[in-house]
C-alpha cells in the first residue's frame, strides 16, 4: 500500500495504491490525522489503484468522517473500482460519503 499526498491551493488529493488492510490502515490514518489537513476545503481520494479495502481500512475513513464534517472539509472519493465500491455500498457508506466516477466530477463536487 502506498499513499501519495498531492496538495494544491485548497484541495489535497490522496492517491491510494495497493490493498488497504489492517497493516496499511495505519499509514492512511497517519495521513488523515494530520491537523493541517483540516485547512483544506476538500480532500479528494483517488481510488484508481486501490484494489482491496478491508473493514480496518473502512474504519480509518469512518473514524475521521465526523472530524471532517465538523471542520467542513469535503471528503470525496473518485475512480473507485467496482469491487471496492461494492464494499462501501454494502456497508451503507455510499449514503454518507461522496463517491463520484471521475476526478473532474470530484473537483466539481
Amino acid at each position: 500500500m502506498k499513499v501519495t499526498a498531492q496538495p494544491s491551493a485548497d484541495t489535497l488529493t490522496l492517491h491510494l495504491d495497493g490493498e488497504l488492510d489492517a497493516s496499511s490502515a495505519i499509514l492512511l490514518d497517519t495521513e488523515l490525522a494530520k491537523p493541517d489537513i483540516l485547512n483544506y476545503k476538500k480532500v479528494l481520494v483517488d481510488c484508481a489503484k486501490l484494489s482491496y479495502i478491508s473493514s480496518a481500512g473502512l474504519g480509518v475513513f469512518i473514524s475521521h468522517l465526523q472530524r471532517f464534517q465538523d471542520a467542513e472539509v469535503k471528503l470525496v472519493f473518485f475512480n473507485m473500482q467496482e469491487k471496492v465500491f461494492n464494499v462501501f455500498e454494502i456497508l451503507g457508506l455510499d449514503a454518507l460519503m461522496t463517491i463520484v466516477p471521475t476526478e473532474a466530477e470530484a473537483t466539481a463536487a
Binding site: A56, V60, L65, K83, I90, L91, G92, A95
Partner: protein
C-alpha cells in the same frame, strides 16, 4: 610456582628431555596448573597484593564468576546493569564509573531502567558528558590515558586522568556505554579492555536472555488470553439450533484466528415467531470477541416483551427499531474506528412471512420456489457504530417478505464471499448464487455442505483470512406433529 611455569616455555628445561619424559612432565605441568588455579582461588587478599602479576587474573575470574552467578538470578535488566557496573569497577580498580543507557530501549525491557553511577558527583558527570559529546565516541571502544592533554577535557573540572569507554552492543540492539575512570594517568591498558569486553558481552548476553524469557512469558500469557476469549466466543455461539416442523436450519462457523468477530444467535418469540441475528464485528482478537458478547447482550436485552404495547405485534421491537437502539447502545462502547454489520430477521411462521433490517451486513441470498429463481435481496442500510447520533434512524429500514414452502434463505458473513483462492481471486456473490441454483432442492444441511464443499475447493491450499459463518434456512410445508 615460577619453576613450574617455566616448564611450559619452549627451549626451557623441558625442551631437552626425551618425548616420554616430556609427556610425563607435561602431565605434571597440567596437574600443577590446576593446583595453581586452586592456589589462586584460595589465596588470601594480602598475598594478591604481594604478587601483582596474578591479581588482575584472580579478579577477572572472581568478577566473571560473581557476574555470572548474580546475573542468572537477576530478574530485571536494571539488576544486570548494577552488577555489571560493580564488577567492572572492581576488576579495573576504577575510581569512578558511569553506565549511560542508550535512549531507545529494546522491546520487552521494563521501563524502570536507569543510568548507573559509581563515585561521580553531579558536576563531574556534567563535565564528563560535555567532553564526551565533543569526542563523539558513541558505539566505539575507546581509551584515553591522558585526559589532561585532551582538548575536550582539558577544562573539565574532573579529578580523572584516564578514561575507558565500552559500548554494550548486542547483535541487534545498542544498550548503552560503560565509562570507567581513574585518577592517575596511564590507568588502562589493552589487557584491561579485554577483561572488560568479556564482562560487557556476558552482561549483554544475560540481558538478551532475560528479554527472551520475558517475551516468551508474554506470548504465553497472550496465548492463554486468546484461549479464554476463544472459549468465551464459542460459548456465545448457540449449540442447539431451533427446530420446528415449519423450517430447517443448518449452520457453519469457522474462526480465522483463535478469536474472530462473527456471531449469530436465535431467539424464540411468542406467537410462533423466531428472531435470527447475524453479525460481524470489525477487527479480530479479544476486542472483537468482547464486542460480539456485547452485541449478544444487546440482542437479548432489546428482544424483551414490552408489557405496555398497545397491540400484539408491538410487543417486540421491529428489526429497524432494534438496529437503531443497538446503534445507540454501541455508541458508548465501540472505538471510533470499529463498527458492526448485522442483519436481524423476525420470521413469523404462522403468517408465513418475515421482516428484516440490514445494517451494512452482506445481502441475503434467497431461492424463491414458486418463481424458481435465486436472487439477492437488494436493500440499503448502514452498519452500526458509523453514525453516532439520532440520525441513524434514517439509514435503516424494514423489509417484508412472504415466503412459500421450499424457499431457501442463505445468510452469511463476508468471510465467505471474500474468501481468496488462486491469484487472490475472491469467491464472490456470483459464485455463491450459482451454488444455490444448483442445490436449492436439497435439505438445509445438504445445501450448506454443498456450498462449503465448493468454497473449500475454491480456497484449497490458501490461508483463511477472515471468519466464515454460513446459515441456511429452508422453509417447509407444515408437517403434522407426529403422535407420540
Amino acid at each position: 610456582m615460577l619453576v613450574l611455569y617455566s616448564l611450559y616455555r619452549p627451549g626451557g628445561a623441558g625442551a631437552a628431555l626425551s618425548s616420554g619424559a616430556t609427556q610425563g612432565l607435561l602431565g605434571l605441568a597440567v596437574l600443577a596448573s590446576v593446583g595453581l588455579l586452586l592456589l589462586v582461588f584460595s589465596k588470601p587478599e594480602p598475598a594478591a597484593e604481594a604478587n601483582p602479576a596474578f591479581s588482575p587474573r584472580r579478579l577477572e575470574i572472581a568478577s566473571l564468576q560473581r557476574l555470572t552467578q548474580t546475573i542468572q538470578r537477576a530478574k530485571s535488566s536494571q539488576e544486570i546493569y548494577q552488577v555489571l557496573l560493580e564488577a567492572a569497577v572492581e576488576t579495573a580498580a576504577a575510581d569512578g564509573a558511569w553506565l549511560a543507557l542508550a535512549p531507545g530501549r529494546p522491546e520487552g525491557e521494563t521501563s524502570d531502567v536507569t543510568d548507573q553511577y559509581f563515585q561521580l558527583a553531579p558536576e563531574q558527570l556534567a563535565a564528563l558528558r560535555q567532553g564526551l559529546q565533543h569526542l563523539d565516541v558513541q558505539g566505539v571502544e575507546f581509551i584515553s590515558n591522558n585526559l589532561a592533554t585532551n582538548p575536550h577535557f582539558v577544562d573539565a573540572a574532573i579529578p580523572f586522568q584516564s578514561l575507558v569507554a565500552l559500548p554494550l552492543q548486542g547483535p541487534q540492539h545498542y544498550y548503552g556505554t560503560l565509562y570507567l575512570l581513574k585518577e592517575q594517568p596511564q590507568g588502562f591498558d589493552h589487557g584491561d579492555l579485554g577483561i572488560l569486553q568479556t564482562l560487557a558481552s556476558q552482561a549483554v548476553l544475560s540481558i538478551e536472555n532475560l528479554q527472551l524469557v520475558v517475551t516468551s512469558i508474554q506470548n504465553q500469557r497472550t496465548q492463554e488470553e486468546l484461549k479464554i476469549a476463544s472459549q468465551v466466543q464459542d460459548s456465545l455461539i448457540p449449540k442447539n439450533l431451533p427446530t420446528d416442523n415449519w423450517f430447517e436450519i443448518s449452520s457453519h462457523s469457522l474462526a480465522a484466528k483463535e478469536v474472530g468477530g462473527d456471531f449469530y444467535d436465535f431467539l424464540h418469540l411468542p406467537g410462533r415467531r423466531l428472531a435470527v441475528l447475524i453479525g460481524d464485528v470489525s477487527g479480530k482478537g479479544v476486542t472483537a470477541a468482547f464486542h460480539m458478547a456485547q452485541m449478544k447482550g444487546i440482542f437479548h436485552a432489546l428482544m424483551q416483551e414490552n408489557p405496555l404495547a398497545k397491540n400484539e405485534r408491538d410487543r417486540f421491537p421491529v428489526p429497524s427499531r432494534f438496529m437503531t437502539q443497538a446503534n445507540t447502545a454501541l455508541t458508548h462502547c465501540l472505538e471510533r474506528s470499529s463498527f458492526i454489520t448485522s442483519t436481524l430477521y423476525i420470521i413469523d411462521y404462522e403468517q408465513g412471512g418475515f421482516m428484516f433490517a440490514r445494517a451494512g451486513h452482506c445481502h441475503t441470498l434467497y431461492y424463491h420456489a414458486m418463481r424458481e429463481e435465486v436472487f439477492y435481496f437488494d436493500s440499503a442500510g448502514l452498519g452500526l457504530g458509523i453514525i453516532r447520533n439520532d440520525s441513524y434512524e434514517k439509514h435503516i429500514k424494514n423489509q417484508f417478505y412472504d415466503y412459500s414452502p421450499g424457499d431457501v434463505m442463505v445468510i452469511y458473513t463476508d468471510g465467505i464471499v471474500e474468501a481468496r483462492g488462486a491469484e487472490s481471486a475472491e469467491y464472490g456473490e456470483d459464485r455463491l448464487k450459482e451454488q444455490l441454483e444448483a442445490c436449492y432442492y436439497l435439505d438445509a444441511e445438504e445445501i450448506k455442505n454443498h456450498i462449503l464443499a465448493d468454497l473449500n475447493g475454491f480456497t484449497h491450499g490458501f490461508p483463511v483470512h477472515d471468519d466464515q459463518t454460513l446459515l441456511v434456512i429452508k422453509f417447509k410445508s407444515a408437517q403434522p406433529v407426529p403422535l407420540a
